[in-house]
């Protein structure tokens, strides 16, 4: 940032916009919560929240929708970060909801879709009226049309054809009791912006974001880690590969990519050169149909 030109870099502009959005929510909404999965986007959001309210503490709790299919490195990171920042962590547990009969396991064993009722139940129980999510518009084409302040009705549903126009930086968070707003402070960030910010801010991430050796199987053209949730099926061969994760989701449907990028600089170089979107490369759940994400979002997904 050079003073005479009065110009800021694109990263500074994005940071300023995200901080503005977070302050707007805290000023106008009663019970905000930040959805924290231990993934890189939610980690960056947490850093922005720290900056938005410094020197005060982050003035809202964080919530993890826990599918029970976790990477241990990510849960360890989550708990450490929450302790460091003195945050209150709400865990909305899918295994517990399964035990109570709120949701039923889907035939393919993935829990992506059944997270939604668990999330919505926790929102209702804690009366959260604003949920910060780390979704970005560059991720997926249904998301490209979502607002920064995205209204949800009392069933948590998104109606893409009935969104509020969003002009200037004037966000409309008004809602009736029981309704809520999903807020996406990283809307205008790209995957590469997120990585540049992680590098600039020296933000620590769960180790699985960097290249490491792992036992994997190849399935539908993607590499899945062999763990307690994924076992080689008939005809699949288990082998060792040097991989890293581009996204961190449910461990039963999040794939790794082959990579030698073991530092943030190398990851940036890799992300800048890659020709495949992060969801296309690593998410079994988004390959189901042309409108898989849109359908889940309508139901109240993140």
């Amino acid at each position: 940032m050079t003073a005479p030109a009065y110009q800021v870099s694109h990263l500074d502009a994005l940071e300023a916009e995200s901080i503005f959005v977070m302050r707007e929510v805290v000023a106008e909404m009663e019970r905000p919560v930040l959805l924290f999965s231990g993934g890189k986007d939610s980690i960056v959001m947490l850093r922005l929240a720290q900056k938005a309210f410094a020197p005060a503490n982050i003035p809202f709790p964080v919530m993890h929708v826990d599918t029970g299919h976790n990477f241990p490195e990510v849960i360890e990171y989550r708990d450490r970060r929450v302790a460091e920042l003195g945050l209150h962590l709400v865990v909305a547990s899918v295994p517990e909801a399964l035990a109570r009969g709120l949701v039923r396991e889907s035939p393919d064993g993935t829990r992506n879709r059944i997270q939604t009722p668990v999330l919505l139940e926790a929102v209702e129980k804690h009366r959260f009226d604003a949920l910060f999510g780390g979704a970005r518009r560059d991720e997926e084409k249904a998301r490209a049309k979502e607002r920064v302040f995205s209204f949800r009705d009392e069933f948590g549903q998104w109606d893409p054809k009935n969104q509020r126009p969003e002009l200037w930086a004037l966000y409309n968070g008004r809602h009736h009791p029981g309704e809520s707003i999903r807020v996406f402070p990283l809307s205008n960030w790209t995957e590469l912006d997120v990585w540049h910010y992680i590098a600039r801010e020296r933000i620590a991430l769960p180790s699985i974001y960097y290249a490491h050796e792992r036992a994997v199987v190849e399935r539908d053209g993607m590499l899945y880690a062999v763990n307690e949730f994924i076992r080689p099926r008939a005809g699949e061969e288990q082998f060792k590969a040097r991989v890293r994760y581009r996204t961190v989701g449910d461990a039963s449907c999040t794939a790794a990519v082959r990579s030698d990028a073991d530092t943030v600089e190398k990851v940036i170089e890799e992300v800048a050169a890659t020709r495949i979107t992060e969801r296309g490369a690593t998410r079994g759940d988004d390959r189901v149909s042309e409108a898989a994400m849109e359908d889940r979002k309508r139901e109240g997904y993140f």
């Binding site: 003073a3 009065y6 110009q7 800021v8 870099s9 694109h10 502009a13 994005l14 940071e15 300023a16 916009e17 901080i19 503005f20 302050r23 805290v26 000023a27 900056k51 938005a52 410094a54 020197p55 005060a56 503490n57 560059d138 084409k141 249904a142 490209a144 049309k145 893409p160 054809k161 969104q163 509020r164 126009p165 969003e166 002009l167 200037w168 930086a169 004037l170 409309n172 008004r174 809602h175 809307s187 205008n188 590469l192 590499l223 082959r258 940036i268 170089e269 890799e270 992300v271 800048a272 050169a273 890659t274 020709r275 495949i276 979107t277 296309g280 490369a281 042309e290 409108a291 849109e294």
Partner: protein, 436 residues
Amino acid sequence: MSVETAAATPVGAGPEARRMDLLRFATAGSVDDGKSTLIGRLLYDTKSLFTDQLAAVEAVSAARGDEYTNLALLTDGLRAEREQGITIDVAYRYFATPRRKFIIADTPGHIQYTRNMVTGASTADLALILVDARKGLVEQSRRHAFLCSLLRVPHLVLCVNKMDLVDFSQEVFERIADEFTAFAAKLEVPDLAVVPVSALKGDNIVSRSPNMPWYEGPALLHHLERVHIASDRNLVDVRFPVQYVIRPQSTTVTDYRGYAGQVASGVLKPGDEVMVLPSGFTSRIASVETADGPVAEAFPPMSVTVRLTDEIDISRGDMICRPNNAPAVAQDIEAMVCWMDETRPLQVGGKYAIKHTTRSARAIVRGLHYRLDINSLHRDEAAGELRLNEIGRVRLRTTVPLLADEYRRNRTTGGFIIIDESTNRTVGAGMIVEAG
């Protein structure tokens, strides 16, 4: 799935990538003038299009029996849009070159055009209007130009597309360029560029086309990369709408009181004498802080925390400015309003909630001076209401004073939204003409 790694440092990976600036632009065009193709071309040629996105589009195109890969499918993200072959809403797209990061607000040309165009243009540094070289200017081109000038988009680019279909004719191009320039002269368009292109063939998109040696201007991308936007910011009028008061409840930080917000305009420095509105109290800036430490000065679009030397009562919605340069403190507002609600029109006597900077108020519509026909610019003074996508000049009375500037002078302190109090929907956008 392996990741392909180029030998050279890819775009966006080098250290320069952290020093790029940001340009937001809105695109507008009529149906079939090639807007989606142009966006697809920009994304493709800057390597911002991913192979899986392209493969998905190719597969859907083939399944629909399209003869060519329909790049419009890239931007049509919702099921209804794909099924009906229409674009419903503003879609945001991203690409970068080593010089700049770009955010495109892609607004559909046909349905709901005004609402979407106004939304996209409200945050745009630049607007890109497309016309088909074979058809020349159409009613919509003029409408789009008018909306850009109404929203005070500082830079306008007219792309005369499909030049390949008019044999790259200089005469055709110049006729359209002259006609548009003459029309734009009647509007307030501070900066206009006209570029002849073929989005389908790539002429004058990333590099100068050998097919049009008579064109001496830059290729489109070159223009987008270099158009000078730094001077668009208002660095003269200090306006700092207080967004949130930071008062840590902690044992380690005591007696801290900071006013958090994003600088709307002007430059704030420690030591500056300031006035706080609406109270009118004056004080001095003790420090300008960020989480990374104090800064020597703050300017748009920085989000900072301002601390003052005196303890005065300041809350959200107040405005920090300079004693000799302050916005109006006004409850009577004259504004151009674009109506965005399909269910109920704006009517004289109607009561609404409004949001202006960080301040919320209620407002009553005291008068509708005229409705503007945005094709002819004719003023209909007999109009009794504003319906969806209509624009008119309105007089409002607010419950509390707004701290407002004319929109033409300040897009941040001159714009407001109108909210229906029963549905909570955003139903209108206002641009202040006069506050007093």
